[in-house]
């Protein structure tokens, strides 16, 4: 019973990371109908930037802020430079371009920082928390991870729901021609959408790296599980992305705890295939017929 409790809390904490990646994918999908395979690579690269800043200044929070700003800028830059030309092309072109970006970022990180595993500092203590004599299975840092993603998600929801920029973002995603007629600068809104996704992805990278170590491919498995979470929730639904991340995090935590950590990636694959077979539009997304 105590073990189940520990695994659940630990799973929720990891699930928040998947939720953050899933959220960034959903933001981009809603804005441009493109799935950004470079999202994990981008998060890995911004985390390396944080690593550089932290080793030079000695301050975790300086690195944290630099990462978020870098994610924002790089996300916007990528949309403007390489995504804009493929936005109205067949989906295959966008897939290949983002895969190219992913492998470029991984190669670049390898050239600059080398391929070795580096330990990345955590914001808070990673010692397990206790209530009385009961071990909770999570640390102060895990609580920070969950809180940070939750705050980011709520801020994002507030931005979309209650601000004028949010209204324009939604309009541009809903119907670009109509939004354009109403005076919305659709191109800028798409760039902003990618920039916000870059920020969320960078946040996920900096939060997950203390537990995965940092190396050029460190985000590959986190990314594919984030993608799985986004598919579980439905690529159209931000709330679904968070829920999908939490469901996947807890499920994988049980699998890892009871069956061994080797089978976790395979179980992730199985989960993705099952969801795609049974409910390809996701659990939380309104069903939509495929366009022909």
């Amino acid at each position: 019973m105590a073990e189940l409790f520990e695994l659940t809390l630990g799973g929720l904490s990891v699930g928040m990371i998947y939720a953050a990646i899933a959220l960034s994918l959903v933001l981009i999908w809603r804005a441009t109908r493109i799935l950004n395979y470079a999202q994990g690579g981008l998060a890995m690269f911004t985390t390396y930037l944080a690593f550089t800043v932290i080793t030079h200044t000695g301050s975790y929070w300086a690195g944290f802020v630099v990462t978020l700003v870098a994610g924002l800028l790089l996300g916007g830059l990528i949309e403007r430079v390489v995504i804009r030309p493929v936005e109205n092309k067949p989906p295959l072109n966008a897939i290949i371009v983002t895969i190219g970006l992913l492998i470029f970022l991984e190669g670049l990180a390898g050239v600059i920082y080398g391929g070795q595993y580096r330990s990345f500092p955590a914001a808070f203590s990673i010692d397990g928390l206790h209530v009385g004599s009961l071990a909770l299975g999570i640390s102060a840092n895990d609580v920070f991870v969950a809180a940070a993603v939750l705050v980011a998600a709520l801020l994002l929801a507030g931005l979309f729901q209650y601000t004028s920029v949010g209204l324009r973002l939604r309009a541009a995603a809903f119907s670009p021609p109509v939004a354009r007629l109403l005076g919305v600068r659709v191109g800028r809104m798409l760039t902003l959408g990618w920039a916000l996704a870059g920020l969320i992805g960078a946040l996920a990278g900096v939060l997950v790296s203390p537990s995965t170590f940092l190396y050029p491919n460190s985000m590959d498995s986190v990314f594919v599980l984030g993608f799985t979470a986004a598919v579980i929730g439905g690529l159209d639904s931000p709330a679904g992305a968070v829920a999908g991340g939490l469901i996947l995090g807890v499920a994988l935590s049980y699998v890892g705890g009871y069956l061994g950590s080797d089978v976790v990636p395979l179980f992730g694959l199985a989960a993705l295939v099952v969801v795609l077979m049974i409910r390809p539009e996701g659990l939380f997304s309104a069903a939509a017929a495929r366009q022909v």
């Binding site: 492998i103 190669g107 080398g114 639904s237 080797d262 795609l276």
Partner: protein
């Protein structure tokens, strides 16, 4: 007629390659074998992506299945080489059928994501049973040159012959398939699924068949690569390999078998060259080995944005005005213009604005 032409071309190329292997030193022979392995895999992938319009980021995983099958058959059952290669292709084709059945229901980004997950997850399977798969170290693959070539025959030359022979057979078979009813149906289904279905084609079956053929090629390529490098280990079949194969296909020109050869040449020769240059400039080996990876990325993005037809498309464009001036070549030039390269179709299959209207806010 087409079959004869392809066979004649293959025989001429085979003769040239045999002469080449005799002239080149052992290292170049080894590189040639490596290029041939990539040609087999990239040709299968380019047929899948360029003709049937499905994407796979998991072909590295299919190569791993072929390589491990070959290694296990050689190690435990001591099968003869042709049987091992055939078995590796068949086993991988079977796994391709499984993936293909799942893939036939998936589109664009979902399919790419699912196959990407396959590429990430499969190497962990090799680690799960170290006694069978050898864990991180992998398995060593021992083959010997056949007796009739004599005891002093250089093994790299034999490997170059073996791999180039398999590559030529694969290319001839794929070229004929692409020209056949199946190839035309793939193109039709890849260009416009609904129109193809209305014309009476069984789109789902065609998509699965494309995955099976493509996986068989990847499996054969994996087995050949295992024999060439004499080792199989999980580290050789990462996502980087899957992306490298895609880079080769895109760079050569999607859907073009000649393009697969150009792409494979680049995949093998450029990294070696870059690492030599990096080493001579005093860069660390880790930096040197990562430069080609970064270069794959740049190539994918630049080719996709600026030259969607790839190298073969560029060659055809150069060749067409020349051919048009020589009366005897005109027929050839015309035939070339109707060539494949379906992926970068000028008309988007579904424009972004159409899609976005279904978005729920």
């Amino acid at each position: 007629m087409t079959l004869l032409r392809h066979l004649a071309a293959a025989i001429v190329v085979a003769l040239v390659l045999v002469l080449l292997t005799v002239r080149l030193d052992a290292f170049r022979d080894y590189q040639m074998a490596e290029v041939a392995c990539y040609v087999v895999a990239v040709a299968g992938l380019t047929a899948l992506v360029g003709l049937s319009g499905q994407i796979s980021l998991g072909h590295g995983a299919f190569m791993a299945i072929g390589a491990y099958s070959a290694a296990l058959l050689l190690l435990h059952l001591h099968w003869p080489l042709p049987a091992v290669l055939a078995a590796a292709a068949v086993i991988t084709a079977a796994s391709g059928a499984v993936v293909g059945v799942a893939a036939a229901r998936l589109r664009g980004p979902y399919l790419a994501g699912a196959t990407l997950l396959l590429a990430v997850a499969l190497p962990s399977l090799a680690l799960s049973d170290p006694s069978l798969f050898g864990g991180d170290q992998g398995l060593s693959v021992v083959t010997s040159t056949p007796a009739f070539l004599g005891p002093t025959f250089p093994p790299t030359r034999w490997q170059a012959w073996l791999t180039c022979g398999c590559a030529l057979i694969t290319l001839v078979l794929l070229a004929n398939l692409a020209r056949s009813r199946v190839g035309r149906s793939w193109r039709a289904a890849g260009d416009d699924e609904v129109a193809a279905a209305l014309a009476g084609l069984n789109v789902a079956r065609l998509r699965v068949l494309a995955f099976v053929v493509s996986a068989a090629c990847a499996g054969l390529a994996g087995a050949l690569l295992a024999i060439t490098t004499s080792i199989v280990s999980p580290g050789a079949f990462t996502i980087t390999l899957s992306v490298a194969l895609l880079t080769g296909a895109v760079l050569g020109g999607l859907g073009s078998l000649a393009g697969a050869v150009w792409g494979s040449l680049v995949l093998v020769l450029v990294p070696t060259y870059v690492m030599d240059v990096a080493a001579s400039h005093g860069l660390s080996s880790s930096a040197g080995s990562n430069i080609p990876v970064a270069a794959y990325g740049v190539v994918l993005v630049v080719v996709m944005l600026l030259f969607p037809d790839g190298i073969q498309g560029g060659l055809v464009r150069l060749y067409r005005p020349v051919a048009a001036r020589v009366p005897a070549w005109r027929g050839l030039a015309r035939r070339k213009t109707t060539g494949p390269a379906t992926a970068p179709a000028p008309q988007p299959r579904a424009s972004a604005s159409e899609h976005q209207e279904e978005g729920s806010i």
